[in-house]
Amino acid sequence: MTEANIAIEDVQSGKADKIIKLVTISGQLDESNIDEKSKQIYDLINQIPQNLNLILNLENLEYMNSKSIGYLTDWYGKISSANGKIVIMKAKQNIADILNVVGLTQLIPMFTTVEEAKFAILGEQTA
């Protein structure tokens, strides 16, 4: 199985109706590991069925295949229909490129810092 890791941390939102999790994904998501790794995100979605917001930190994600993009699209659908948002931060050029070619960047915005990502979720403007 190709090496990949998903770490989940709390992010203080300052708002009772906004639960924000920082999901740091590293390594390579491919056919050999994505079914197993995606369970962590589905577990999180099941634990917090409403008002869940995810900041996906892809700074150390080196590769993702079409099936992992399919899962990301599924997470987006589930979270956005339950009053939440998904945003991406620090994606490498090749990751941004593949998300763009499948059209996902029209749905999931990308940012370069956690502050920008957090502001986007909270509906605030950066300075």
């Binding site: 491919d30 987006y76 090749n94 499948v102 029209q106």
Partner: protein, 171 residues
């Protein structure tokens, strides 16, 4: 390697067992090969890495049964890079070249909305990042997929920033 240095096309053939486990190594090989022996830049090296991965994953899922093989061929002639992936047609989800062609054409339509986890590899990634994509049935009963990209951008001048307008919301 500059185009003028190519005396004859560079052809590299690989045979892989039908297991996703090996794809990480194939991706590394593809990236190194394209960066070191072709005139394609980093962006296209990463794109070809995805193309090869998606074609092989497709062959693993639909073409070759576990225990059988997948054949890859890289062909670079200084003007274009061609990648061919051939399966044995022994997989339980076997599809024909005609069926694959129809699936890709259907999913390329702007009106097509993908509500599945799968189904973006060939139609969105491979089709958008290659100038020619061809599916052929083999005499052995499998399918051979050939993806070709020209080094100059004349055939696809706007291809670098291609963006699908189809929304793919899953709910």
């Amino acid at each position: 390697m500059a185009p003028q240095d190519i005396q004859q096309p560079i052809k590299i053939m690989l045979t892989l067992p039908t297991q996703a486990y090996f794809m990480s190594g194939v991706r590394d090989f593809t990236l190194g090969l394209i960066k070191n022996t072709t005139q394609f830049g980093d962006m296209w090296a990463f794109r070809f890495q995805s193309i090869v991965d998606e074609l092989c994953n497709n062959a693993i899922e639909f073409g070759s049964a576990p225990g059988k093989d997948i054949k890859l061929e890289f062909l670079y002639d200084g003007k274009s890079l061609e990648i061919t992936v051939e399966d044995t047609g022994t997989g339980k989800n076997k599809t024909t070249a005609k069926e694959l062609t129809a699936i890709v054409e259907e999913r390329k339509k702007p009106t097509y909305v993908n509500k599945e986890i799968r189904g973006r590899g060939l139609s969105k990634i491979v089709a958008n990042w290659t100038d020619e994509l061809k599916f052929e049935d083999t005499q052995a009963g499998g399918v051979k997929v050939t993806a070709k990209k020209y080094l100059n951008q004349e055939k696809n001048p706007t291809g670098l920033q291609m963006e699908e307008k189809t929304h793919i919301v899953l709910q």
